[in-house]
């Protein structure tokens, strides 16, 4: 029973971690909470439903197109809306409201096109199951965990080992100095949105596959859990977001498994509130350095 809960918790935690990493990357370059991230998470599985379940495409091409389309959508949101707001030197809160607006447009657009009823997404991964003692790991769970780990490893390499990543980190630490070094700040931020939205798309599609369905109400719960994961890990920290996501996924699975699933979504809220009061920098976050 315990092992089974751990497997279930790890599966869902891995997807939260993946969304939270993308969210955190965007947060760190702009200090902007991107509310549209949850909408991208929901947008992608609908594209998969359209291409794979309705139009009969293969799963892999449908999945790739959905991730690509969502990434481009995120980049376009930055390029055409947020860049304009930044160039007017408006406050970050203006951008935040803009992302909230974009998320509303996406969610309502999805409802308009697909209806508000739950849409089913047939399982495409039929690779059987693994027995670990008395616990079972389904093929789906294995794919989710392995994919999340691989993508997070790739994201970590991008952030910490590539020139693009250096640019992202430099913008997070000092945007003006980054420009002085020759960093094309707006372009790097747009690319960060592309990566963040694509990560949300991958996580959203995997979760929809796991549950066998998708509906737009997922938006609210995933947004809160992404926030909670990022705050728990230390907002802006990539390893922190991974850790935060896994912890939240585990906790809510345990609450659902040993207590009642009615309260599982409460965990994220309790964590947000507790950490904001007692440890606002999170587990792996850094304190803001005072500028001289």
């Amino acid at each position: 029973m315990l092992l089974q809960q751990i497997i279930n918790g790890l599966t869902i935690g891995a997807t939260y971690a993946l969304v939270a990493v993308g969210f955190s990357m965007v947060y760190s370059v702009l200090e902007l909470a991107n509310f549209a991230n949850g909408a991208f998470y929901v947008f992608a599985p609908y594209i998969v439903v359209l291409l794979y379940a309705s139009m009969g495409w293969g799963f892999i091409p449908a999945f790739l197109i959905a991730v690509l389309a969502t990434g481009i959508l995120g980049a376009m949101m930055d390029r055409f809306i947020l860049t304009t707001i930044r160039n007017h030197k408006a406050q970050t809160s203006s951008s935040m409201v803009a992302t909230l607006g974009v998320s509303t447009v996406i969610i309502n657009g999805l409802i308009a096109v697909f209806g508000s009823a739950t849409r089913s997404l047939p399982n495409a991964v039929n690779i059987g199951r693994i027995y670990i003692g008395s616990a079972i790991m389904t093929g789906n769970q294995l794919v989710i965990i392995v994919m999340s780990v691989i993508i997070m490893a790739v994201l970590s390499i991008i952030v910490y080992k590539t020139k693009l990543g250096s640019a992202m980190r430099s913008i997070a630490q000092n945007q003006v100095a980054s420009r002085m070094m020759g960093v094309n700040v707006n372009r790097i931020i747009t690319v960060t949105f592309l990566i963040g939205s694509a990560s949300a798309a991958i996580a959203g599609t995997m979760v929809a596959m796991y549950y066998g369905s998708v509906d737009t109400t997922l938006y609210t719960s995933v947004s809160v859990k992404t926030f909670a994961s990022a705050i728990l890990g230390g907002i802006g920290s990539v390893p922190g977001a991974m850790l935060g996501g896994v912890i939240i996924g585990m906790l809510e699975t345990f609450v659902a498994g040993y207590w009642t699933s009615a309260y599982k979504d409460m965990i994220a809220f309790i964590i947000i509130i507790a950490f904001l009061i007692f440890k606002p920098n999170g587990l792996l976050g850094h304190r803001k350095l005072n500028k001289v």
């Binding site: 980190r169 430099s170 000092n174 002085m180 070094m181 350095l289 001289v292």
Partner: protein
Amino acid sequence: MALLEVKDLHVSYGAIKAVQGISFTVNEGEVVTLLGANGAGKSTTMNTIIGVVKAASGEIWFQGDNIAALPSHQIIKRGIAVSPEGRQVFPRMSVTENLRMGAYAYSDKSLIDEGIERAFTLFPVLKERNTQLAGTLSGGEQQMLAVARALMGKPKLLILDEPSLGLAPIIVKEIFSLIKEINAMGITILLVEQNAKMALGVSDRGYVLETGRIVLSGDSKDLLVNEQVKNAYLGG
């Protein structure tokens, strides 16, 4: 031909006119000082040259092209580097990572390795601390890092914005002696300072900036004995 020529530059922040029609030139191989008190418009001028602040009007010619309208990443690529006021190192990056950021505009690996080698030769203390996070360095060390970072791409024009600010006199001396050394490497330097004695001591020519206008210019050795400069910057 001048390496850098600023012509009738105006810069405003909203209603505040920070720079009001200044013109000056920096010739290849020179060290030129832009002298001025706080709020004279020195840093605004620097930031406008590298495109971080946009000019309201005027021209900035670098190597025969007007760069006033270009975005900063294109200006930096042309060979201008800056060590900004207040150092502005990346606090949560190591010394070496900060240096690499200085060569961001270039992708030539040998240039980067060469740059790091040069930085460690010029500033041995940076070599000792190469893995340390820049935010944990002392003010003097951060200043050295900021200068070393600006040198990474072997710029044609190096802009040093108040390198003496907030540093102990002995460190200031060390940094100014390096300005000569850097200039001898063939790098033209535009030095922005309040410390008139030190700055004019290492430069060929100077301009004095007051409330956004150039009020005086000439050879550094003449400015050093000028009554106006003496009264305003050298304590009479």
